[in-house]
């Protein structure tokens, strides 16, 4: 096995261009498991942990630009106020050891339907920045997930960063698992309320071949809020509307039966999570008046 250690981003991109089959490694919390279990034995590994740019974050034209190599622990500590939904999701990832090493870039690289960073990125309409020696391009999170553990990255590309607007309103993340910590999602849901755009974003995880944005549910709840002037009146919406909202979120899912849970349960649980997280978020919005 060849182990490449680029010192700079351009060097890393050049290596990836020269060897498109080379596999990058960040925290290694996905890749090393695959190697240890002998599911995968890459001939070449590119270690991205020495590239400073990947571990940095800052404002970029009104948006946060967060390097692919920023760990969950740092997202919780440094970005918890600006990205509360992603920070809540990060808190549910694995154990302290995993949060200290694991990165959002790695989560995107693996593109598992159960990746916990994905629902908040969908709910906040984040953008993934991909780079190669030929240049960079931006892909909406919604278009990034191409299939089970498949993403829009080309063979010569690396993930540079993701871009997301700082929260302007309440955000929530909820994950169902059969253990009270350190658990892979049976299903998960992220919700982001943006009072300025009068927008509610919803991403769901572990309930289909890819993480899914629940677009119809988003439109529905936005219409309800609009129609009843709830943004202005700062009151709760009708239970019947909330119920329908939950059903639409469940309908967005394409779940299967597997060792972690049944398809029926996943749909049921997503509807519950949708109602609960909306209520929590809307409570926060009302209080913020």
């Amino acid at each position: 096995m060849e182990f490449l250690q680029p010192a700079t981003w351009s060097e890393a991109l050049a290596m990836k261009a020269a060897k498109p089959e080379a596999v990058p490694i960040a925290g290694g919390t996905d890749l090393m498991v695959e190697i240890n279990l002998d599911h995968r034995r890459p001939a070449t590994i590119i270690d991205l942990t020495h590239i400073k740019e990947l571990t940095e974050w800052g404002m970029d034209d009104g948006r946060l630009r967060i390097g692919a190599g920023v760990t969950y622990a740092r997202i919780i500590d440094e970005l918890g106020d600006r990205l509360p939904g992603l920070a809540m999701a990060s808190r549910t990832v694995g154990s302290p050891q995993i949060r200290n090493r694991g990165t959002v870039g790695g989560n995107l690289g693996t593109a598992s339907p159960a990746g916990d960073a994905h629902p908040p990125l969908l709910a906040t309409e984040a953008i993934v920045e991909l780079a190669s020696t030929k240049g960079t391009r931006q892909v909406a999170a919604n278009e990034f997930f191409a299939g089970p553990k498949k993403n829009a990255m080309r063979a010569d590309e690396l993930i540079a960063a993701f871009l997301v607007e700082p929260a302007r309103g309440p955000q929530q993340f909820s994950k169902v698992g059969t253990r009270n910590a350190m658990v892979i999602a049976v299903c998960s849901l992220a919700l982001a309320v943006d009072p300025k755009r009068k927008h509610v974003g919803i991403g769901i995880g572990s309930a289909g071949p890819t993480p899914i944005r629940a677009a119809e549910a988003e439109t529905f709840i936005q219409e309800v809020l609009e129609e009843h002037r709830l943004w202005e009146r700062h009151v709760h919406c009708e239970p019947s509307a909330l119920k329908q909202f939950g059903e639409l979120v469940a309908a967005a899912a394409k779940p299967i039966d597997d060792v972690r849970g049944t398809a029926d349960y996943r749909r049921h649980a997503l509807a519950v999570l949708a109602r609960r997280t909306f209520r929590w978020a809307w409570d926060d919005y009302r209080k913020s008046k």
Binding site: V176, T178, N180, A181, D264, Y265, V272
Partner: protein, 760 residues
């Protein structure tokens, strides 16, 4: 040539002291040498070729490509098994390497030794095995049908226990029935199966191994290797948990075969997925129960049919089904009983020993039945249990009359009267909620339930088994001070035998420097670290050997001091009848070494009558009760066990700290089966052979355990002690189930409880 092993230690302490494990700090720091760390120069690594089918005929095995692979030193098949290619704890029905047929997914077919573990695994992939795939039998009820294919020459009934007690036609005023299902739990020891075999150059082999019973391994190894027992010497290596998973052979014979073939030391260490097929599991089962009682709540009869899935090979199934049947009614008086306990062969993963050993499965059923009966009688469930509790002098459904303390009603009273934890706080921290840090509820739909359960089981081996342990105790003077060395083959599996032996020697001989030597087969058998028996039986042997040493010291003092009666050994001195120190022990001994070997045997037991199941089949019984307080998110089906309270009679707590550890750890394992731990088997294939999807409780799942530890003293055992390790695993889970039923109002008849069982 010897690998680094755990140090021989002096932990000190007397019987009843709280003694810290001598290896505790090393383990926390990661310095403790586990069997997976074993290493010597020039060692090869073994890998195992396993069946990808649950049931198939082997047509051919081609090892050519594997033999030619880089680094490979040997590739072995059934043809290389020098002795008889069959072993098993009770029935020798399992091949060391499959020859004609494979009976479960993951069964060992061939072995490879290579310079590097990676080379060994790669070469294992190159062994070409052609299979004619057969349709597996994966349901024990199907296996029992006459038309089912016979998986073993004697048919598919591994054992059928019939208990016919009292009036077989008894009727009752109030009758409740129920069907219960238990999933397959794994012992999930954190240390994988691993060991190192070193050939002695004269045809024999030394095996360093983490096991529960060195001598049964030795006996089985000699048989399959075609050697004399003295040519196969075993030494205990650092163990990372056992819980029954290390009672059977796993890689022992394989490593020895490869070492004898290559003339080089060979190490085998399983990966986590391999470990899931490398040891037996807790039997899954289906239990049908009918309870009859009088209107005032006295049990009249219990009828039960208990069917356990034994999987492909017998392992200890025959003893597990005996327990499941003998204790089918729970710790209650029941004048009439009709119990059919059947364990069947299937093509599922083999099942065998696991903490609680048959008494766990039935406890879920009899305790659910007691609650159902209480509801039918509109009686308080604890009152109903206390009303029927076994007492000293009660007859079990096997006819055995139990002597000694039987505090079932008292244990129930203690857990019942313990103050309840505070109600769930509004806006409590997420870690206190069902769903935990995953943020699924802020209190919505959370209902609290409280449940009770009691359970019991036998301690030690039953049914006429020749149970004994051997201890050698040596007293000498080292650096001017007396030193005691205790040598047994008793396996320290984490339960704390290592401090127990030192505490007993310290108590009996009054010597401070007590060294517990590494367990090996150079001394006689200690029996297994199973059935909660080791403190009793090996503790008894150490006590007997110490008493023999003490007698010789006193005799020596009498002859040296020309003194008559009344001499005692006290605090490293010889003391006269008047209490005056006459001579220091070290001075008395000088160069003299006193070395005594003793064998200890508990009370005899007898086999169950094959037609009625009646007999004095068990040596000692241990009882425990639990109360569980559980919060359930009734919309999502997620569970938070808020508190477990337990009461258990341990007879005498030799090391109270270790006893508390057993009560907590055992309850955690019980909680695991109740709410999350399950090996999911589909068409004979394990779907979740890793800790990613075989979930074990974390610190956020396991609540504090409030304990009442009773020391009522068994008149028949050393220091009055009772076995401690298994009762906590028996009634903890059933209490949690009762609490979940109370919270949800649903019947919940299957464990582990899955979220969809509670909401869909």
């Amino acid at each position: 040539m010897k690998p680094r092993l755990a140090e021989e230690t002096t932990s000190g302490g007397r019987v009843g002291d709280r003694v810290r494990r001598p290896d505790a700090v090393q383990k926390v720091r990661g310095d403790f040498p586990y069997s997976s760390d074993l290493q010597v120069d020039g060692m090869l690594w073994g890998a195992t070729v396993r069946s990808p089918h649950p049931y198939a005929r082997i047509e051919s095995i081609d090892t050519k490509a594997a033999k030619a692979a880089p680094g490979v030193k040997a590739v072995l098949t059934f043809e290389d098994v020098a002795g008889e290619n069959a072993y098993g704890l009770e029935i020798a029905d399992q091949p060391v390497l499959a020859s004609d047929v494979v009976r479960y997914w993951g069964e060992a077919v061939a072995l490879v030794a290579a310079e590097h573990p990676e080379q060994a695994r790669r070469a294992a992939d190159k062994v070409k095995v052609e299979y004619a795939v057969l349709k597996p039998v994966t349901d024990p009820e199907q296996a029992l049908l006459p038309k089912a294919p016979k998986l073993h020459p004697g048919g598919n009934v591994t054992r059928h226990i019939k208990i016919r007690h009292g009036d077989q036609n008894a009727t009752a005023e109030v009758v409740v029935t129920g069907d219960y299902e238990i999933g397959m739990q794994d012992q999930a020891p954190l240390g994988p199966e691993s060991g190192l075999a070193i050939p002695d150059g004269e045809g024999g082999v030394d095996l360093y191994i983490a096991t529960q019973w060195l001598h049964i391994d030795q006996k089985q190894l000699a048989h399959v290797l075609g050697l004399e027992p003295h040519e196969v010497r075993l030494t205990m290596a650092g163990i990372g948990g056992a819980f029954g998973a290390r009672e059977d052979l796993s890689m022992q014979a394989h490593a020895c075969m490869l070492a004898l073939k290559t003339g080089r030391p060979v190490k085998i260490s399983y990966s986590r997925p391999e470990s899931f097929v490398g040891h037996v599991h807790r039997h899954p089962g289906k239990l049908h129960y009918e309870h009859g009682a009088t209107k005032d709540g006295k049990l009249v009869y219990v009828k039960a049919r208990i069917v356990l899935d034994g999987g492909a090979y017998a392992s200890s199934s025959t003893a597990v089904i005996a327990n499941a049947s003998c204790f089918a009614v729970g710790p209650y008086q029941c004048p009439n009983a009709t119990i059919d306990g059947i364990v069947a062969y299937t093509n599922n993963p083999p099942c065998g020993a696991m903490r609680g050993f048959g008494s766990v499965q039935n406890c879920y059923a009899h305790e659910a039945q007691m609650d159902k009966l209480a509801a039918a009688l509109t009686m308080d469930p604890v009152a109903l249990r206390r009303h029927n509790s076994l007492e000293t002098g009660s007859a079990l459904i096997t006819g055995q009359v139990i002597d000694g303390p039987v505090p079932v009603a008292e244990l129930l009273r203690l857990v019942h009267e313990r103050p309840l934890p505070a109600p769930a706080a509004k806006n409590a921290d997420l870690t206190a909620m069902p769903g935990g840090v995953s943020n699924t509820t802020h209190g919505e739909s959370v209902k609290r339930g409280i449940g009770y359960a009691a359970g019991f089981k036998n301690i030690g081996y039953s049914e006429g088994f020749n149970d004994f342990s051997t201890a050698r105790v040596r007293l000498s003077v080292v650096d001017g001070k007396p030193r005691v060395e205790v040598h047994t083959a008793g396996a320290e599996v984490g339960q704390g035998l290592v401090t127990i032996q030192a505490q007993i020697a310290g108590t009996e001989l009054g010597v401070r420097d007590v060294m517990v030597l590494t367990a090996d087969t150079e001394v006689g058998s200690a029996g297994s670290s199973s059935a909660s028996r080791q403190t009793y039986i090996t503790g008894g042997a150490v006590k007997a050997a110490c008493e023999a040493v003490r007698e010789r010291v006193v005799a020596l003092a009498q002859s040296e001091l020309k003194s008559g009666e009344g001499l005692r050994l006290e605090d490293e001195n010889i003391v006269g009848a008047d209490g005056n120190v006459l001579v220091a022990l070290a001075t008395l001994l000088g160069e003299e070494v006193i070395d005594e070997l003793r064998v200890f045997r508990p009370r005899k037991t007898s086999p169950l009558d094959p037609d009625t199941g009646q007999a004095n089949a068990h040596m000692q019984f241990a009882f425990a009760a639990h109360r569980a307080v559980v919060d359930v998110d009734t919309e999502l089906g997620l569970v938070k066990v808020v508190e477990l309270a337990t009461a258990q009679d341990v007879g005498k707590a030799i090391n109270p700290q270790a006893v508390e550890g057993q009560l907590e750890g055992g309850a955690a394992q019980g909680l695991g089966l109740a709410v999350m731990e399950e090996i999911q088997v589909q068409d004979g294939v394990i779907k979740n052979p890793s800790f990613t999807d075989y979930l074990l409780p974390t610190i956020l799942d396991m609540p504090p355990v409030r304990m009442d530890i009773l020391e009522l003293g068994d008149p028949n055992s050393p220091y009055g002690l009772k076995g401690v390790g298994e009762p906590p695993t028996i009634s903890s889970g059933p209490a949690i189930l009762a609490a979940i039923r109370a919270a949800t109002g649903r019947p919940v008849t299957r464990v582990p409880v899955r979220p969809h069982d509670l909401v869909l």
